[in-house]
Amino acid sequence: MPKLSGLSPDRLAGAVVAMVGAAAFVAATRYDLGSMSNIGPGALPAAAGAILFVCGAAMCIGGEPESAPPVRIVWRPVLAVLGGIAAWAFATQWFGLIAGTFALVLLASLAPDRPRWRAALATAAVLAALGSLLFVRLLGIPLPILSWL
């Protein structure tokens, strides 16, 4: 079995966790730590940061490279879905819920390798209509249905 070089996913994750913990700890020490009889706003965040750092460091040192399963990050669906959500937020604010819904569904449909545009368009149309009716008209959620900035 060929030995993999570099950091295993577990060790890499441990390193990230430890860094987040360290940053949280340093930030917490800038808040007032208080005293035993009057705990300040920094005390528990500092403790949580320290725990995070210790756990991360232990994972980084103790994690076994050979036992970790391979990790593969596939970016296409991640970008499609997260981009779709961001597009929904902007488009809904600027052009209304109908535009936002189309933006979300069409972008999110890019996630699979072969997008099905006809199904996506149909889904978007139905969602835009039902969503406007149910959430905006019936439940009164304050969102524009159609607007021009």
Partner: protein, 506 residues
Amino acid sequence: MAYLNNLVAGFQTALAPAPLLFCLLGVTLGTFVGVLPGIGALAAISMLLPITFYLEPSTALIMLAGIYYGAQYGGSTASILLNTPGTVTQAVTCLDGYPMAKAGRAGVALLTTTITSFVGGSFAILLLMLLAPVLATVALSFGSPEYFSVMLFGLVIASTLSGEAPLKGFAMVALGALLGFVGLDANSATMRYTFGYFELADGLNLVAVAMGLFGIAEVLVNLIGKQETPFVSQRITLRSMLPTRQDVRQSVMPTVRGTIIGSIAGVLPGTGAAIAPFVSYATEKRLSPTPERFGKGAIEGIAAPEASNNAAAQAAFVPTLSLGIPGDAVMAIMLGALMIHGIVPGPQLITEQPALFWALIASFWIGNIILLVLNIPMIGVWVRVLRIPYHILYPVMLFCICIGVYSTANSMVDVFVALFFGLVGYFMLVLRFPTAPLLLGFLLGPLMEVHLRRALMISQGDPSTFVSSPISAAFLALSLLVVVLSARSSMMAAAARRAAFESQAG
């Protein structure tokens, strides 16, 4: 007598048209999301949370709870017919349910899981009726030291039991607590971790965090890990559901044991329905005279875990309603819902809001009976639901997530918070970090801070206040014990792996 009166009043409330309708709606939706692979009860509850703002608190709670236990029923359908767990807790049911379906016994499997779910759920509701009021009375005398220690115990349990690696669990609890500290500290008026964003002064929105971690991240994982499993299509007739006498004999004791294991796991703060089915399955396999049948369609292998996850789901309401400490991540959202409605969870809930508590209990009985009807005569409907293709489903889910997150505070910032936690949750799932402890830490961390501060203020800085109360001391000792035991077992496992690797290499 007062007890009986309360119960009768509870049924009267729950049988009124609106609560009854929303109970029906809740359990139907629960079964629906349970059947659909890739949407858990948690995502469904967070999505529907905004709708419940318009309802009476008791009606809202009845509906949300219905989604939760309804999903436990529906989840087994996907496990059996599709070999894909409808919800995480049903992963075990695939092991023997799918082989049963392939052998042409899907009907028997579906009937068995429904009946054992009902048995497990009913027992746990009885337990809830008996235990919660007593526990609440005891808890009324709880001070801050006791609360702090019980919550600590809950977090320790959640981080050691919910995943394979306790270290990851602890890290996630700590991270959750840090995220919970974001915002304005009420005691000192200090802005913590807001990075200058005034929008974060109120703290991170619980629904946004939960939807990101569970809703968006789940969609991403499903999109990536998607492989088509052959759908066992057979007509599920009532006749095909009839079990043989041997089936009945073989599933009685596993159901009883599963119920007991599930009830215990549910009552413990911090565990909920996540581990009970796995423990039950392992127990049955060990006790069975023919363990080789497991994984090939043994009826015990579906009866025990299904009884136990329903028992755990119902029993998780015990710590939630009597102490105000959530049993699992779903309960954390449920507590959030209560707080949005202005109800303070805690031991005074049962004494001060008996109507709410007993109406909820009554709705559990009604809901479980509705679920029997939904899952036996109407099973054909759910089999058809399974055929909804995922490429239609996930855009709809994303849309509901967007609207749901936005509407909790009518803020687009929350949508971006959810987006961020979707990415975080995706990485966590890929790297096998458990997400539930993070949510519990998020909810309990700030509460623990309040109680720690109060306890030390009263004792004038003397930490012995945590051990001078017997209840607090007991929970601290238990927490320590769990930490030591889990550290020992994971070190032994690591040593065994290392030895295996070295013998392989050498």
